[in-house]
């Protein structure tokens, strides 16, 4: 039993801490303050554990923890590599802010079923960290499916017909994806004898014929692409916007969709490897889907009047930035791709926080209703402006840095078209975000009509405003100093080099 408390079990602790919070949250259902306290405590503990692991990873260690043999020759194992710790940092760090924000949002909005909400949230975070630390395909799949199940109650939270429809759609997409991923896993596992993620890929040349490799790639890509919102697999994401805004903020901008994007990085960088992809034209296949998604999603976002829907389509577009970087798989592009994982997380969570604050405080959900609202909610709209600037790729927000690396990566691979796509998408981003800021600050408020709410005269509750200002501030801080206070750039560079500079992985007999 003592072994359980040793440092080598840290990865498991990081996964389990929020899992153990679930029963505590359920038991505290009649005492909201205690319940939210537990959530907050679990979030802080989780972040602390991830930070402890970060130190070890930066020292060059790669903690691996084999728990048990879950299928013949395959162990349920957690391994902490730079990519995993990177994602875990983003998800667990933002969970703290989201918990604070949730308290403001859920209470301000007098939402029901809050116990289920907090419990599912904690479970989702366990699954997310599990995904980040998965050492092999089966472990990844296990947490990936757990994430689907844990987030389902959050999607249907409102229990309105629209929410239930969205929930069904989400399950249909996510479960199908999981099954295709399973088919791919079994195929690869039996043929290659291993499923352990290896930087640079582990599929030896000649093991699969070209068309088999393409099929396998498609199985995996549909598997992770649903959560990553690659078109045409994205429809669940805008529909899932019926969920409460903190859910959209953390899950549909950070945890769930980024698990998909993280999966894309894992599959391209750690299963197939850049060389194999390039040789069989898989990079082009993925890049064309990603490119189309970036442009289409941005164009669709332009005409969305519902604020959250607009954010959702913007998310779909930005996720494909990450996918594009993974497809190009040059060192610079991969670096940019990983950086965009954290940059987009910070910026988009800010925007969702703002949308939620506007909804709870001013009861507005449509872009066309926001005229002049910035004057009464300056902090919220200020943060929104920062997030918008960043997503359009304007310095000094961190979106600029990731975009810079993605753009130079596309030049490095000689894909000028991709560079064009990034630039055009930047313009489109400005096109659908800036009007919101302009309306908020510079348009005169419309006269309140019968049955609509007049603009409030003050800011929203500090429970919401403080987190959203913090995320906006962090986006700027990381835009100016990419390695402070957390070494995101350093990590991203390390990962990209490990993936692109190592040759095709040797066939390892271990599971």
């Amino acid at each position: 039993m003592n072994a359980f408390f040793q440092a080598s079990f840290l990865p498991l602790h990081a996964v389990l801490v929020s899992f153990l919070a679930v029963p505590a949250i359920l038991l505290a259902s009649r005492r909201p303050n205690l319940r939210e306290g537990i959530s907050l405590f679990a979030a802080l503990a989780k972040f602390a554990l991830v930070l402890a692991l970060l130190g070890s990873v930066l020292d060059g260690n790669r903690p691996v923890l084999e728990l048990l043999e879950i299928a013949p020759g395959i162990s349920l194992s957690l391994a902490v590599d730079p990519l995993g710790i990177f994602f875990a940092l983003v998800a667990s760090g933002l969970w703290i802010l989201t918990t604070v924000y949730s308290i403001g949002y859920m209470r301000g909005n007098r939402e029901g079923r809050q116990t289920r909400y907090y419990a599912s949230f904690a479970l989702s975070l366990s699954a997310t960290i599990g995904i980040a630390f998965s050492a092999n395909l089966l472990t990844f799949l296990l947490f990936y499916e757990l994430l689907t199940l844990a987030t389902y109650p959050l999607v249907v939270h409102k229990e309105s017909p629209a929410a239930i429809r969205a929930g069904r759609m989400y399950l249909a997409y996510a479960l199908t994806a999981g099954l295709l991923f399973l088919a791919g896993t079994i195929w690869l596992q039996t043929r290659a004898g291993t499923g352990t993620f290896t930087a640079g890929g582990f599929i030896p040349e000649g093991l699969f014929s070209s068309w088999e490799l393409t099929t396998l790639f498609l199985l995996f890509m549909v598997g992770v692409g649903v959560k990553a919102g690659i078109m045409p697999l994205h429809s669940w994401l805008p529909a899932a916007m019926v969920a409460p805004t903190p859910v959209s903020a953390l899950l549909h901008a950070v945890a769930v969709v980024k698990s998909g994007a993280f999966g894309v990085l894992r599959v391209t960088g750690f299963v197939f490897g850049p060389e194999t992809m390039r040789e069989h034209g898989l990079d082009l296949l993925l890049a064309s889907f990603a490119g189309a998604t970036i442009l289409l999603a941005s164009i669709i976002a332009l005409k969305q009047d519902d604020l959250k829907k607009r954010l959702a389509f913007s998310t779909v577009g930005h996720l494909s930035y990450i996918v594009m970087g993974a497809a190009l798989a040059s060192t610079a592009a991969f670096t940019g791709s990983i950086l965009h994982l954290s940059a987009h997380a910070l910026m988009k969570i800010t925007l969702f926080f703002c949308a939620g604050a506007i909804y709870v405080h001013a009861h507005k959900t449509r872009v066309s209703e926001l005229d002049g609202l910035g004057r009464s909610m300056p902090w919220t709209f200020g943060a929104f402006a920062i997030g918008s600037l960043g997503l359009a790729g304007i310095p000094p927000v961190n979106g600029f840095i990731s975009k810079w690396w993605l753009a130079s990566g596309s030049l490095e691979s000689g894909e000028a078209v991709v560079l064009g796509i990034f630039l055009l998408s930047g313009l489109l981003n400005a096109g659908y975000f800036f009007p919101i800021v302009i309306r908020g600050f510079f348009h005169a408020p419309a006269q309140a009509e019968e049955g609509t709410h007049a603009h409030p005269s003050s800011e929203a509750s500090p429970w919401m405003v403080v987190p959203l200002c913090l995320t906006a501030a962090l986006a700027v801080v990381f835009g100016i100093m990419p390695d402070f206070p957390l070494p995101f750039f350093d990590l991203a560079r390390q990962i990209a080099e490990s993936v692109t500079l190592s040759g095709p992985g040797l066939l390892l007999p271990s599971g």
Binding site: L68, A71, P72, E159, L175, G178, I186, T190
Partner: protein, 491 residues
């Protein structure tokens, strides 16, 4: 000392309990169910001992009355039979536990005959598994079937009607089996399994033996409710009393599965040259068709028990598919799924028994959030079992599927991989329909106050089963390596 007698002790425990039932009934109103529970627990212990002995010392046989085979009746205990014996005794004991502490539907005079039937049926089941003689197997098959008709036919008038239908069809199945035995005996002059295997191996499969085999397989398939011989099953499971369904559904068809595995792999030669037609492929195809048909039919059902019954048809399909794949992983998947499905189905049917007992009813459109508030723990168990039926990791159901897909892959059958994956989605459709109903939506005014979430003797069996689903999933490798691999034949 007791060790060598173990094969017969399990059978005798049940039969003795059946005989003592009237005496127990005179003692106390509750005595029959207590006696049944004690006998079940005893049988479980004995079957675990049998399993232990076969794993440590290897297979052993027992000659009834010390008459040596092939003249006398031989019982055998090997890894295969011991595993099935443990599954049957374990699940039935849990269900009996639930029956005693939660249901108590049968009391007084009625409970004597009810529990006597239960004991006779379980005695029959363990006899089928224990025997090494094909005619003896028929006797036990009829014993369990007759007791089973009694169990399934009590209760409403509809139950009697569908049990009668089952009786007719079941008798047809048994006759097919008996018919086949006649041919076989005429051809070989023996009905002892080991003896038969040697003779058939020496002579090869002649036409008579092939005809015998076809008759026997059809008879067993009917008992097992393999598509297209499944029609009796949904009616019977739906109309029977809750406890009878919960008792029969998880294990009843599994006994026929055991007979099928025993015959196909141990008695009849299974080389490809022995057959004029692809027996295994036909079986696998029937299994695949059953998977899809059962899952599709489960979707529009309005009655929970009927839905679960159709789902059983699909799950039998998984097992038949695994047996028919004729690869090590297919075989492992089939046997593992026998165990996993028994746990899951027991859990699901015990939930429906709870619904009936508490008067909430089993009509799906009557399931509301109020159901969950009345039975919070049982509903949670149902959800876990449902997730396992859909096959999401790390539940047991996922790993049955894992091995079956490995088996399909091993034999190069991509088609079956697609079938297995598609059925997962169909399962998700009909289970999430219920989960949505029970968890989502507003509770009406005047709905019952939420019951406190706690473990009671009424839901203990359900919770045990639900947790076993997780344990069986996480430790599937142990089950496969130490329990199933010793029984896998050479392919």
């Amino acid at each position: 000392m007791i060790g060598e007698h173990l094969p017969i002790i399990v059978i005798l425990t049940y039969c003795l309990a059946a005989l003592l039932m009237p005496v127990a009934g005179l003692l106390h109103r509750k005595a029959p169910s207590i006696l049944a529970l004690i006998a079940g627990g005893g049988a479980l212990v004995f079957s675990l001992m049998t399993l232990w002995k076969t794993l440590t010392e290897g297979a052993f046989s027992y000659s009834v009355g010390a008459w040596p085979p092939p003249v006398g009746i031989e019982l055998i205990a090997d890894p295969l039979s011991a595993f099935f014996l443990v599954v049957i005794t374990l699940i039935s004991t849990l269900v009996l536990f639930h029956a005693h502490f939660s249901d108590g539907a049968e009391s007084g005079q009625q409970s004597i005959s009810y529990y006597a039937c239960v004991m006779l049926m379980l005695g029959g089941f363990s006899g089928i598994i224990g025997t090494a003689d094909l005619f003896n197997l028929f006797v036990f098959l009829e014993l369990s079937a007759l007791a089973g008709y009694g169990l399934l036919g009590t209760g409403s008038g509809r139950a009697a009607h569908s049990a009668f239908r089952y009786l007719i069809l079941g008798t047809v199945g048994a006759s097919f089996y008996l018919f086949g035995l006649g041919f076989l005996y005429a051809e070989t002059g023996s009905l002892n399994m080991g003896d038969l295997a040697l003779i058939l191996d020496a002579t090869g499969m002649q036409t008579t033996a092939r005809i015998a085999f076809v008759f026997i397989i059809i008879g067993i398939s009917l008992k097992m409710a393999l598509l297209p011989l499944h029609q009796w099953l949904p009616d019977v499971y739906t109309d029977a009393p809750a406890m009878s369904t919960a008792l029969v559904a998880p294990i009843g068809t599994k006994v026929a599965v055991y007979a099928l595995i025993r015959l196909m792999y141990d008695v009849f030669p299974s080389g490809p040259g022995d057959w004029a037609f692809p027996v295994h492929s036909i079986l696998a195809f029937a299994g695949a068709a059953g998977i899809i048909w059962g899952s599709v039919m489960a979707i529009p059902q309005t009655n929970l028990k009927r839905m679960l019954a159709y789902s059983s048809v699909a799950q039998i399909g998984y097992i038949a598919l695994g047996i028919g794949l004729a690869t090590p992983f297919g075989y492992i998947g089939a046997v593992l799924h026998v165990f996993n499905h028994a746990i899951m189905k027991a859990c699901l049917f015990l939930f429906s028994a709870r619904l009936e007992k508490t008067g909430l009813g089993i009509r799906i459109d009557k399931l509301t959030p109020a159901t969950r508030l009345r039975l919070p723990v049982s509903t949670a168990c149902f959800v876990l079992a449902a997730i396992s039926m859909i096959g999401l990791p790390p539940t047991a159901g996922f790993f049955s599927k894992w091995y079956l897909i490995l088996g399909s892959y091993e034999s190069g059958n991509w088609f079956y991989v697609v079938i297995i994956l598609a059925s997962s989605l169909l399962n998700a459709v009909y289970f999430f329909r219920i989960i949505e109903r029970v968890y989502l939506g507003d509770t009406d005014e005047g709905s019952p106050k939420p019951v406190r979430v706690r473990l009671t003797r009424r839901n203990l069996a359900l919770v045990t089963l639900a947790l076993s689903i997780l344990v069986a999933g996480l430790f599937n490798v142990w089950i496969v390596k130490s329990l199933i691999e010793p029984m896998v034949p050479a392919f």
